[in-house]
Amino acid sequence: MKVEITVNGASTSADVEPRLLLAHYLRDVLGLKATNIGCDTTSCGACTVLLDGESVKSCTLLAAQVDGGEVTTLEGLSPDGADLHPVAAAFRTEHGLQCGFCTPGMVMAAVGLLSENPKPTEREVREGLEGNLCRCTGYHNIVRAVIAASGQDPDEVQGGTLRRASTEGVEAAPGFSTGDGA
């Protein structure tokens, strides 16, 4: 069957099997490989994209169900890699990613969360991202990134529970700095 889906602002269309998942449409038909698939049970959220502005798990939707819709993937957020979308940029600044596999879905879920709740609390971020699993970061820096992307200071929300490690009183080894500068 034929589907027509606007992806990252461009119209796309293809003849697809009715059972083709949106995630595979994006990856295999369009070659947009940022969207990852991490599970079979809609549990991990690595495949999260925006559909008509709301975050959805693209492994749980058929391409056919999205016919006529507008999809945004990670590639669509920051078409120029040198100029990152503010949420993606906050993930970098706060080290909210390690292996990168959950990251495209996590960033898209965060974009969706912030569009619904522009100034979330730490708890709201944690519950808002409950459908996206990360195995590397322990979420601490992801939460910091989302708080920072919302324009709040991650060192100050929630009584400072998200603060970075204290370097107070730490003696630098020879040749090492302990400052925050780079």
């Binding site: 099997e17 080290h95 970061t137 322990g138 204290s166």
Partner: protein, 746 residues
């Protein structure tokens, strides 16, 4: 100012955050066939017949292979295991765990693979199943009758225990502890792809933590010369120890590509990953601790049964580390341990973050709490009285570990102070007095671990190019750790060239033939130091050349902003210009000669609803001292991830098989990986005690969080219930288990 010790944001991130990383499944491989594996639905069975006729004629099918077609010798997956316990690449007579591959289907399209795999008919004759370790030890049901035993190997396992070990102790406590089986669960599942060239060489792309070892393993299994095989690791979506080395499936992919003369690619599903990938921990421990009522611990015994799964792999060696680290941070007169490794009808056990050390720490930290409860002393105080003192270092422990440096009491004091230990105990007493539904518990752990304990040597090369850019080649193999940034910092420190101009390459055996990859928290203290050393040596080479060119004395030359400068003058030649005249590259190797022993202390605070049994970790304060920190941003990330996995083992995660060997946690819907909502934020304190074993003074940080957090979180929940008479609950401390413990204590 030195770049070392600063928060340099990652150079790999702009690509990861715009177009996404490039994993094995993302590769464009023109004409590649998709491999779908037919896996055993039974834990132990004889294969009577396999009918692939219908599958062969299904749409898109290019080939269907069974064990009868595979001309490879069965492989012993771990050298130290019983040599009868070998695995076939496709099982042809007996299957020994649910998920063992029995047939391979190659199709043009991925979706066609599952359709065709469903048409493969396998006739199984079920055999008795053994899952329980004590049952396995009886040898009543044997996985390998030809071996005559389920014991793969052991460590003093046939030695009698010392009947006098606890002589003279006023108090002796003994207890069986389960260190449950866990699934590493990297978000990227296993994946591999292979393509043979016309020159008779083959390229294997795969998701692994060490390309070079993968090459020798796969070449060995296939019976080909390692020089014929090029292994490339694209970006790797997490490993946590479970991607150390090659999986048999990787060799199968290479073999199949040869059979059909086309590239073959394989990416497993999550449920295949949860049944077929190696898993971790899986120890049944008996601890016995003895000492005096003044808090002095005099003797400690650790007796381990290690589950190896059906085909022994790295799991067979985990107890070696568990035994080595058994006495941990404590100065105990008499210590003994032994371990037996057993096969069961489950997927193989191998490394998972900490790999043998979290098991040692969990055992003795629980033992310390049990001893403290028995003598009625505060658990933090009992620990303090038995800690090794700073002036005892360096020393070799009764476990045989050569500890380099440590300040354990200082670490304990700092976390207790930061968490407000005395105030928390007062609040706990008040809640108990009031009979609150929500009780609090405080769990303390002091830990030491071993990093870089496997391979001490690592290679590095640094080359400056005529355009002023730099390439660093490393034998380490990052999969989230940020080596592209960290190693660039180390080169930048010597060359004074910005990290943005430095490219770090890894994971390609043609480019980097020697390397041991990333595991056991070894990378910085071996591979990072090698990069630092290579860049330093390159500076010396450049100075020699510049001295001739500038007619200057080498001693008057310094490197500034990527140039060799005659100190105090404008006379200079850039490293790029030197590279233009003659290739400017240094290859080197660093040999640490010994492992290092990072340490720390964690305090966790649990909130436990004593009516429902629901427990959460509300707060955790940690010191993870791995010496000087190269990049705090990256080091904190490692600590965070480790702490999360530690809390997850304590409260949430467990791989469960039923008595017939059916995995009941085979999806992410069933297995308890925590989300952001189930974890607190983490309070990290810093301490930096250097080691003398490398010029940077650095130790490993990758696994510390897991090792310290697991017992702290477990003990915190149990501590919340101490006044009800609860002394121990096995992990994971699910609401049901906590509720049952409360009811049982009534």
């Amino acid at each position: 100012m030195s770049i070392m010790g600063t928060r340099v944001v990652r150079v790999e991130d702009p690509a990861f955050l715009s177009r996404g990383a490039r994993y094995t499944d993302d590769l464009d491989l023109v004409g590649a066939l998709h491999l779908t594996l037919v896996r055993s639905p039974l834990a132990h069975a004889r294969i009577e017949a396999i009918d692939v006729g219908e599958a062969r004629s299904a749409p898109g099918v290019v080939g269907v292979f069974t064990g009868a077609d595979v001309d490879l010798a069965p492989a012993l997956l771990f050298g130290g295991a019983n040599d009868k316990m070998v695995r076939q690449f496709l099982a042809k007579d007996v299957v020994r765990f649910v998920g063992e591959p029995v047939a391979a289907v190659l199709t043009e399209e991925a979706y066609q693979g599952q359709d065709a795999a469903d048409l493969v008919e396998v006739d199984y004759d079920p055999l008795p199943v053994v899952i329980d370790l004590k049952a396995a030890a009886t040898d009543e049901v044997l996985l390998f009758p030809e071996a005559g035993t389920n014991t793969s190997n052991g460590f003093d396992h046939e030695k009698d225990l010392d009947p006098n070990l606890f002589d003279g102790c006023e108090v002796v406590v003994t207890r069986e502890l389960v260190n449950q089986r866990l699934a590493a669960s990297p978000l990227e599942t296993r994946a591999a792809a292979a393509e043979w060239g016309e020159d008779g060489r083959v390229t294997l792309w795969c998701s692994t933590q060490n390309a070079q070892d993968t090459r020798s393993e796969v070449a060995g299994w296939l019976g080909i010369d390692a020089a014929q095989l090029r292994v490339i690791t694209p970006d790797v979506g997490g490993g946590f120890g479970a991607k150390i080395g090659a999986d048999p499936e990787f060799a199968l992919v290479v073999w199949l590509a040869k059979q059909v003369g086309r590239p073959v690619r394989w990416t497993e599903t999550r449920s295949e990953n949860m049944t077929g990938m190696v898993q971790g921990r899986a120890q049944l421990q008996t601890v016995t601790i003895g000492g005096d009522r003044d808090g002095t611990v005099r003797a400690y015994r650790l007796d381990v049964l290690q589950d190896a799964g059906a085909y022994p792999r790295l799991g067979a060696v985990l107890p070696m580390f568990t035994r080595m680290m058994a006495p941990a941070v404590y100065d105990i007169e008499r210590v003994e341990s032994r371990a037996r490794v057993l096969v069961t009808n489950t997927t193989s056990v191998a490394a998972y973050r900490g790999a043998g050390r979290p098991e040692a720490t969990a055992a003795i930290e629980r033992a310390m709490d049990l001893f403290a409860a028995e003598i009625g002393m505060d658990p933090a105080e009992v620990r303090r009285r038995n800690l090794l003192k700073p002036d005892q270092f360096p020393l070799t422990t009764k476990g045989g570990a050569p500890y380099d440096s440590g300040e354990y009491e200082k670490a304990l004091d700092k976390v207790l102070d930061a968490v407000g230990y005395a105030d928390l105990r007062a609040e706990q007493a008040a809640r108990r007095e009031r009979g609150d539904t929500m009780q609090i518990g405080i769990g303390v752990s002091v830990f030491v671990e071993i990093t870089g304990g496997g391979a001490f040597k690592e290679s590095a090369a640094v080359e400056v190019h005529p355009d002023g850019t730099v390439t660093v080649l490393t034998g380490t193999s990052p999969h989230g750790q940020g080596h592209a940034t960290a190693w660039a910092m180390l080169a930048s420190e010597h060359l004074d060239i910005p990290v943005e101009k430095i490219t770090v390459k890894h994971g390609d055996t043609d480019l980097i033939p020697r390397g041991s990859g990333t595991m056991g928290s070894r990378s910085l203290q071996t591979g990072g130091v090698a990069v630092y050393q290579a860049a330093g040596e390159l500076v010396e080479v450049a100075k020699q050349r510049a001295a001739d060119l500038l007619e200057a004395n080498v001693d008057d030359l310094v490197v500034e902003r990527g140039a060799v400068v005659v100190r105090g003058t404008d006379t200079a030649v850039s490293l790029a210009d030197l590279a233009e005249r003659e290739k400017l590259r240094v290859d080197t190797r660093f040999d640490s000669g010994a492992p290092t022993f990072p340490f720390g202390a964690h305090v966790a605070v649990a909130l436990v609803d004593v009516e429902s049994g629901k427990a959460v970790i509300d707060k955790i304060v940690t010191i993870d001292d791995a010496g000087p920190v190269l990049n705090p941003l990256l080091a904190e990330g490692q600590r965070h991830g480790g702490i999360a996995q530690g809390i997850a083992q304590a409260l949430l995660e467990e791989v469960v098989y039923d008595e017939d060997g059916n995995p009941v946690t085979a999806t992410f819907a069933d297995y308890g990986i925590p989300s952001a909502a189930e974890l607190p934020s983490f309070t990290l304190l810093d301490m930096a005690t250097p080691t003398h074993l490398n010029p940077l003074g650095v130790k490993g940080i990758g696994e510390a969080g897991t090792i310290g957090a697991t017992p702290a979180a477990q003990s915190a929940v149990i501590d919340a219930l101490a006044h009800l008479g609860v002394r121990h609950i096995d992990m994971p401390l699910t609401p049901l288990r906590v509720w049952e413990a409360i009811e049982g204590a009534k």
